[in-house]
Amino acid sequence: MTTTESAPAAAPRTFIGKASNYLEERSGISVAVKEFGRKVFPDHWSFMLGEVALYSFVVLVLSGTFLTLFFQPSMAEVEYHGSYAPLSGMHMSAAYASTLHISFEVRGGLLMRQVHHWAALMFVAAAGLHMLRIFFTGAFRKPRELNWVVGFTLFVLGMAAGFTGYSLPDDLLSGNGLRIIDGVLKAIPIVGTWLSFLMFGGEFPGSVIISRLYMAHIMLIPALIIAMIGLHLLMVVLHKHTQYPGPGRTNNNVVGYPLLPVYAGKAGGFFFIVFGVLVAIGSLVTINPIWAYGPYDPSPVSAGTQPDWYIGPVDGALRLVPPHIESVIFGWTFSWNILIPSLIFGIVLISVAIYPFVEAWVTGDRREHHVLDRPRNAPTRTAIGAALMTAYSVMWAAASGDLMATHFHVDVFLVTHVLQVLLFVGPVVAYFITKRICLGLQKKDREIVLHGIESGEIVRLASGEYVEVHKPIDEYERWRLVDFTSYAPIERTHPNADGKITFGSRMRAALSRWFYEDRISPVKPSELTSGHEQPESLPDN
């Protein structure tokens, strides 16, 4: 006797049983549940930054969708007769009028606008901090270099989403922001005028820019962000999460809590906490009161106005340029005063994007890394990060140069000159200070491994001498402090097949010396046994 079908399992009785059976017979979902349901996630507060960014994005989609139901992305002129009396009778674009309508006539409309704006700030901030976490712990190393690039793209897309959204209400402030974009576009050599005309559909401001930005803001950019988030998370699943060094954590395992149930409980709950915090801020703190600025008009402007924080560094870079740098070559105008700061900003961004590849080239390290570096254990990388952050912060501070000047009653010219100097000196100083701090902390770690923790207890020896009691640390604590690799600079350059030492290999040797010259290696068991007579055995260079 032959059976062509395997007998179905006993028919489920409960509702949930029936429902999951229904789904199972149409998808075979059990495979995925079995495969991923107990996937392990390590736990650390710094791993939540990416989650905050993700959840803020969900909040953006929800609040943004609500806004689309009322917002009119049109520059058609209307006369205002809504409930905000100070603007009554004024001419303005439908976009601005509908934003007033959302704010003052739709119940919960102002709340959703404010939640949307705060979520936007949170999204970019969390993505930025997440990126810093990845950088300073070396989580971008093989096999995660490509995911670093995806994450970087997400950060840039977040800035683009923010800028396009911020411009939609067509108020005085955002209109000025667009005017600056127009000026920057026109500075692009040869094709600048055309690019500006293509973007604005003719002369600035024209009558189409809001609807074009709207398309980018609610469709194009969110679609790209969603695609990138999908790719990002897919790679996280493929690579499994990194973990901080610690007892039992190796390059070949991942230690943590299973997705179901603990991680899902924590992460799911955390989503609602992030959402709740954003709604609480949105109901308590006003942001972007567009009614106070008035509709866009090319004539008035008020001092001390600020772009959203993530645009600050670009704006600040524009401010730091000294006057009179522009040249005319074969009749074509080249506006270096705009091109150079844009270039500097671009270089900072690009060096961030390609950093993983540079570091891998310098170390020649082609192993996979799943255990994170503590920032102190990679002093040069940490110092480079601090230098880049300093450059970014100086540009950012420059965007508030005028506010600083009025606040501290100093000349705005002076503030600008100080920042101009800081832009070049600051990163260098930050580099050296950070490196020293890292090396100091590493020495401290060695001390602790070799001699234990200072207990604060002073005892008097029989000889009359006073000494502080050092408590030895347990093996778990010790492992946390010694589980890292140190790197030695490439000492010789390698001749290639023709017996020549190429420029590339010379440069690599030089770079590697710069990266790894100052280093402190982890304590070794052999030092521990002889360690008491020999307090430190640091490689001296």
């Binding site: 000025n176 026109k186 003719g202 007892p247 390290d365 010789r492």
Partner: protein
């Protein structure tokens, strides 16, 4: 440290999966061994049934609070309506609706996290990692598939097909790019961009009027040291493309003591008894230069702090701008009102590539 434990040779093969460890210093002989995962420390809720019960009650309390928040939000939506005639009703609506929703979300989140942290099993578990690259069989299998695809299609062999395919694929998207041309109007319809940027609404005889009410300005009414924000006569929001026109035509009129003015020879006739008119559009990237410092005769751009000296041809004395603000030559008509002698003699606003062509 001896040289023997350094692997500065980039081709050195490390024990780990046969990949180069580059210049990592690895000495398996003399390193500590991993003590393994620390023993699990039980929580209060694992040890004491009362603590567990208390935690469970706490979770329930949060969930109840969340439900209360959701209901409160709906109640707030109804009992704090927005009255179209009373703007102060917006605030309570925003506040209480928002706080209700926030409570409902936060309590739900906190309750869930509490549950996970206090009551769910918290023993750490371990997953094993595998090298990222697939197994040898998997790679061989993939190669086989690609080989077969290549053979069956002849993709590698039929070079002509392949090249023509690539050629076609390169050209196919082009119409899509060409079609973007109409993002901006044709030169024949809207005018050549560079040409448009060279002209504004000002013509010989156009009166200077106040922004925004459009009243003409008597020369005798302009006080020494005062500044007037100006638009060309006839520019109202009824004017076609009025924002585009206004974006180029706004002017700032300032009156100084005649002897304070430093004027170039060819521009001596452009002012009227110490009254000068300059474009208000910053030559940096185009913000309105709207801040006037009375004592110093400086105009300050609020966007990036470019500073222009009105007494001296509005030349740049600080900031990123490159060029002086363009001057509008002015005179006075029969009735004593300020009028333009002509349009600006150079394009206003930010530089653009064709500016000097």
């Amino acid at each position: 440290m001896t040289n023997s434990d350094q692997r500065s040779d980039e081709d050195a093969i490390d024990v780990q999966g046969g990949y180069s460890s580059g210049i990592a210093v690895i000495d398996p002989e003399d390193s500590f061994t991993d003590p393994g995962i620390e023993p699990h420390r039980p929580r209060k809720t694992d040890l004491f049934p009362e603590a567990e019960k208390r935690s469970a009650r706490t979770v329930v309390a949060w969930m109840v609070l969340s439900a209360i928040g959701a209901v409160a939000a709906i109640v707030a939506y109804v009992v704090f309506p927005i009255d179209g005639h009373d703007i102060s009703t917006v605030r309570p609506n925003n506040l209480f609706l928002g706080l209700g929703i926030a409570l409902s979300l936060l309590a739900l989140g906190i309750g869930a996290v509490h549950w996970a942290r206090q009551l769910m099993v918290d023993e750490e578990t371990i997953d094993i990692r595998h090298p990222q690259r697939g197994s040898e069989e998997a790679q061989a299998g993939a190669l086989e598939v690609l080989d077969a695809a290549n053979k069956e299609s002849g993709f590698g062999r039929r070079t002509l097909i392949r090249r023509s395919l690539i050629g076609a694929a390169v050209l196919t998207p082009l119409p899509g790019i060409v079609m973007l041309r109409d993002l901006a109007p044709l030169a024949t319809q809207g005018g050549d961009p560079a040409e448009l940027l060279r002209h504004t609404m000002w013509t010989a005889g156009t009166r200077l009027t106040r922004d925004p009410d459009g009243t003409p300005i008597k020369a005798s009414d302009v006080q020494i040291g005062s500044a007037v924000h100006v638009i060309p006569e006839g520019l109202t929001n009824e004017t076609e493309d009025w924002l585009n026109k206004k974006a180029k035509a706004v002017v700032l009129v300032v009156r100084l003591e005649e002897e304070d003015l430093i004027e170039a020879e060819e521009k001596k006739s452009w002012s009227y008894h110490g009254i000068v008119a300059y474009s208000k559009i910053c030559t940096h990237v185009g913000c309105p230069v709207a801040l006037v410092e009375q004592h110093t005769h400086h105009l300050l751009c609020p966007c990036h702090q470019s500073t222009f000296d009105v007494a001296d041809g509005a030349k740049v004395i600080f900031g990123p701008a490159n060029r002086a603000l363009p001057q509008l030559p002015i005179a006075v008509d029969d009735e004593g009102y300020l009028v333009a002698q002509s349009d600006f003699h150079e394009p206003v606003g930010p530089s653009f590539p064709e500016r000097a062509l």
